[in-house]
Amino acid sequence: MRKVHAPRFSQLCLFFVMLFLFMPLIVVAAYSFNSGHGMTWQGFSLQWYEELFTSSHDLWRAFWNSIIIALTSSLTATVIGSAAAIGLKWWSFKLSGYIKVATYLPMILPDVIIGISMLIFFSSINLPLGMFTIYAAHTTFNLPFTYLLVDSRLDEFDFSTIEAARDLGEDRKGAMLRVVVPSIMPGVLSGFLMAITMSIEDFVITFFVSGPGSATLPLYVYSSIRYGVSPVINALSLILILASMALAFIFRRFLKSFAASA
């Protein structure tokens, strides 16, 4: 077989696109070590990291809000999304088409629509905005991911293993718990991690459904961008970039299937 060479033009494009994607991130990361305030380099310093870790109380409160919301909403979405994936895959009933569509759509529609419709909904039923409304919104936009990842895992499930378990004396519940649950676990876990990522990074939807005192990390970043930036945000940026690198590294084996589902 002839040796395959990627043509030069596309390789050049690849190089420039990668440069384009990373240049802004690298600049932010580099300037987090700048001792001055602006974009003129005034020497190396770790003072913004010191400020980030010692005297940014609002930032840390926002961080913990983000963590609480991410964990609770991802857990809810994972449990009800995984159960629904099994129910929708192996049983047929009237509303299954509707449930699938209503679960997919929040992933596809622009964030502004989801955020505004929820805001109007919560205002109409006089539900005060705060941690609960953020939790409800995040669970809703996490559901398509947790549902889809378990659903595609179920496609590979070999049904005869259940029959084998039943032949060997397991009842239906036992077969479900000891055969089905372990085999879909990778899908459940990657759905959970995906949901955590989506939840921690969401700004637009949270912006609409949050109330006083319930700011999450992206909302904190937003208000510091709008109302006077402190270079502490640069330091925070580098940490968040490293976090997404770590996550992508954990997911390195699934990157191809992630690209296919995106």
């Binding site: 696109v17 802004p24 991130l25 974009m39 909904f121 809703t140 700004f203 690209a259």
Partner: protein
Amino acid sequence: MRKPRKDKAGIMLAAPMGLWVTLFFAVPLLIIVTYSFLKKGLYGGVEWEPSFDAYRQVLDPDFIAVTLRTLWTSILATLTCLALALPTAYAIARSRHQTLFLFLTIIPFWTSSLIRIYAWINLLSTEGLVNNILLALGIIKEPLHLIYNLFAVILVLVYMYLPFAILPLFTAFDRFDFTLVDAARDLGSSKLGALVRIMLPSVRSGITTALVFTAIPVFGAYTVPLLVGGMGSTMVGNIIVDQVQKTRNWPLASAFSVILTLVSLIGVLTVLRGGRKDKKSKEVRT
């Protein structure tokens, strides 16, 4: 494939998710659709009186101008994304370091959108890095206005949504059997001819997917025009939010949301239909 079962267990498993998405997605969406046909309340909210006022207001020349600008901006940003993503995705698919490049594409994609916008503000603002460098090199005397205009909005939109275009295109190229191109060339086709006639048809559905899944979030963009745009670069997303937060005109915000939803749905249906056609033609071939 097993025959689907018909007892009650299935609906019990799916019910919690069904109820959840009904309460927090379907009902809010229905409320918006309903409100778009009602009258604006005096102090925000709505009056329960059927009316087409909101849709009439959508046709106000100022709003038409914003809608057209949104359309134009999205088309430009989406096509730029596609033009950059096509050769990039092709190169990744043919590279020996696929995982590395996918890793590099996904990192910015998973980094907080606000951090990425903030990074661009650092580069483009009057005292930003680009102006600093150009001034220091003596190329310009006065800082350039690189931010708070349509140029910045399009540039940052392309930056934000480029991975949305690269990933589905990569999948399409990765599934394509490149020996077919070699075969066409052996049979006398030119290189470009082989790419256009052999490769293009089989990656067409990937291109549609990339187009639609870039265009939808771009068309509904809110944060980018808010943070790097100016007076002359507001988009439909900004109108919707202003109508809710400032003017408190819920019916008008709802009408714009309904329009945005319909446009997105048409896009998605196009992709789904394309996918189904692909599947059919494959079944015929095998």
